[in-house]
């Protein structure tokens, strides 16, 4: 087990824990709004940002943050304008982003399959100290938005129209949520990769809500589950010599399956309580003879 104390393992573990705690913290709002897959779309767009970074010789994390933030704002504007028929516009943006990213990356000197794989599926073991500083700063931003803004973000995601009537800055909050989700994607990019980011935003929350009753409990339990699966994923993947990114997500999925099964068994064991008073029918028909 001596490798566990090696520098690269410790850095990998810290990176995984940062992602584990931040992704569900913002993911809970996306799940509440029934937009669980939006993180996946932002991840696709972020690859284009990575390619832009390579092209101009700047930090790919920086350009990925900028491009995915712009993408997230565009997604939010499409959502605000179109309500239901935005899927096509979003699909064009997501696949345009990832295809553009792939094409562009191969035009640069870093254009190898190894680079591409490291961004698509993560490369935790290659995390440097400088990476950790950037990830730590971005995580601090995401966590402060998710925790300090909780009452307002909850209100907007729960009932947007009511929030509007209450005079809350609905548009600002929606854009803040979109940009924060984009930042989360770039934080998680190193750890689990752009294609698996959304898993850590959604699965810990979905696991938590199998047994939680309140939003606050779901938020914090989701964060705890995110931390647990990230730590377990990194340590066990080292043991079985497998890349940690995918392994973390597999651990999350297995935990979800176990918790959902147990919760389902517990629910089916105690009979559902009868409603206190039956709802009256809207219309009563009398037979006319």
């Amino acid at each position: 087990m001596s490798y566990l104390t090696s520098d690269f393992m410790i850095r990998a573990l810290i990176g995984a824990l940062l992602v584990g705690v931040t992704a569900p913290a913002i993911g809970v709002y996306l799940v509440q709004r029934k937009m669980a897959l939006i993180g996946d779309g932002i991840g696709h767009v972020a690859l284009f940002g990575v390619a832009v970074g390579f092209l101009f010789g700047t930090s790919p994390v920086l350009t990925a943050t900028l491009v995915s933030a712009l993408g997230a704002i565009a997604i939010e504007l499409v959502r605000e304008r179109t309500r239901t028929s935005g899927d096509i516009a979003l699909a064009i943006m997501f696949y345009g982003g990832i295809a553009g990213g792939v094409v562009l990356i191969y035009q640069t000197s870093q254009g190898t399959n190894a680079t591409l794989t490291s961004y698509l599926f993560g490369s935790l073991l290659g995390t440097t100290s400088a990476d950790l500083v950037v990830m730590g700063a971005l995580s601090a931003f995401v966590l402060s938005v998710a925790l300090i803004g909780r009452p307002w973000l909850f209100a907007v995601c729960q009932d947007e129209e009511h929030a509007k009537v209450s005079g809350l800055p609905v548009r600002f909050l929606n854009l803040l949520l979109a940009v924060t989700a984009a930042v989360t994607v770039t934080v998680a990019m190193r750890a689990v990769g752009l294609l698996l980011v959304s898993a850590l935003m959604v699965i810990p929350v979905a696991t938590a809500q199998q047994f939680t009753r309140s939003f606050t409990a779901t938020l914090f339990t989701g964060m705890a589950i995110g931390v647990a699966v990230s730590a377990i994923g990194v340590i066990v993947s080292a043991e079985v010599d497998t890349p940690p990114g995918g392994f973390i997500v597999v651990v999350a999925v297995v935990l979800f399956a176990v918790v959902a099964t147990v919760a389902g068994l517990l629910r089916s064991r105690k009979p559902a309580p009868l409603p206190e008073a039956p709802e009256p029918p809207d219309v009563v028909l009398h037979q006319v003879t």
Binding site: K34, P151, E161, E279
Partner: protein, 252 residues
């Protein structure tokens, strides 16, 4: 005297099709106004225009003497939307949903404070849900979910309560709790505008009815008594719409 709500010549249309035409309506403090009308008469649209969710194509809407867009203190309005989508993707307790109604008064990024907590508590008591405040909203009956939305509106301690069909599909216990909460709100000087399908259990509280038909106001005044005999419990409401005939058979 201050007028709580004043609309002048309000016209609202969806896709160029007018839904409300030339609505002029004034509501004074303390009134309990029922908006009545058939489905599609425009009563829900009128409510959405009043709270600013549906833009008016022409005309003016003033709340508390100020144009709608310039009303700074939104906590003066308590809005109770139709009961759809109360439960969202993540579980939330009754108290969490009700607390969202306090934010209008709380100010952005300000702490809630003791007054906020007390207001949330008394809103829960007013609708008779104090004992259920930690239950997830999704586990409640439709009537209890409706009461949760009313408590959310009351938590902001509004002066005007605007409700869209609060009694639709609500059980008897919840209808009684709703009537009690409204009586208390109105007794403290609050003004109420409520969209209803029928006056039902709220009838004794209503001071004025406005009836919409085809997007226009066709009656505005004290509640009309039902036609003779129509309100007695044994009344069977049958219209001889068409001569009785054998039901048509459908064939390919």
């Amino acid at each position: 005297m201050l007028v709580i709500l004043e609309t002048a010549g309000v016209t609202v249309g969806y896709d160029g099709r007018p839904v409300l035409r030339d609505i002029s309506l004034g509501v004074a403090p303390g009134e309990v106004v029922a908006l009545l009308g058939a489905n599609g008469s425009g009563k829900s649209t009128l409510v959405k225009a009043i709270v600013g969710l549906t833009p008016a194509a022409s005309g003016s809407i003033r709340l508390f003497g100020e144009p709608l867009g310039r009303l700074r203190n939104r906590s003066r309005i308590g809005y109770v939307p139709q009961r759809i989508g109360v439960s969202s993707g993540v579980p939330a307790t009754v108290r969490e949903v009700v607390a969202a109604g306090r934010l209008a008064r709380r100010g952005f990024l300000r702490p809630g404070g003791k007054a906020g907590k007390l207001a949330i508590d008394s809103a829960l008591v007013a609708v008779g849900l104090a004992g259920m405040s930690h239950r997830p909203v999704s586990s409640l009956s439709g009537g209890q979910q409706q009461r949760t939305l009313i408590a959310r509106a009351l938590a902001g301690q509004p002066e005007l309560l605007i409700m869209d069909e609060p009694t639709a599909g609500v059980d008897a216990a919840s209808q009684a709790a709703l009537a009690a909460a409204l009586r208390q709100f109105s007794g403290n000087g609050g003004t109420v505008i409520v969209v209803l399908h029928e006056l039902g259990p709220l009838a004794p509280l209503i001071s004025r009815t406005v009836v919409l038909h085809g997007g226009q106001i066709v009656h505005d005044g004290p509640p009309l008594p039902p036609a003779a005999g129509h309100d007695c419990p044994e009344h069977v409401h049958i219209h001889p719409h068409a001569p009785a005939a054998e039901p048509a058979r459908w064939e390919l």
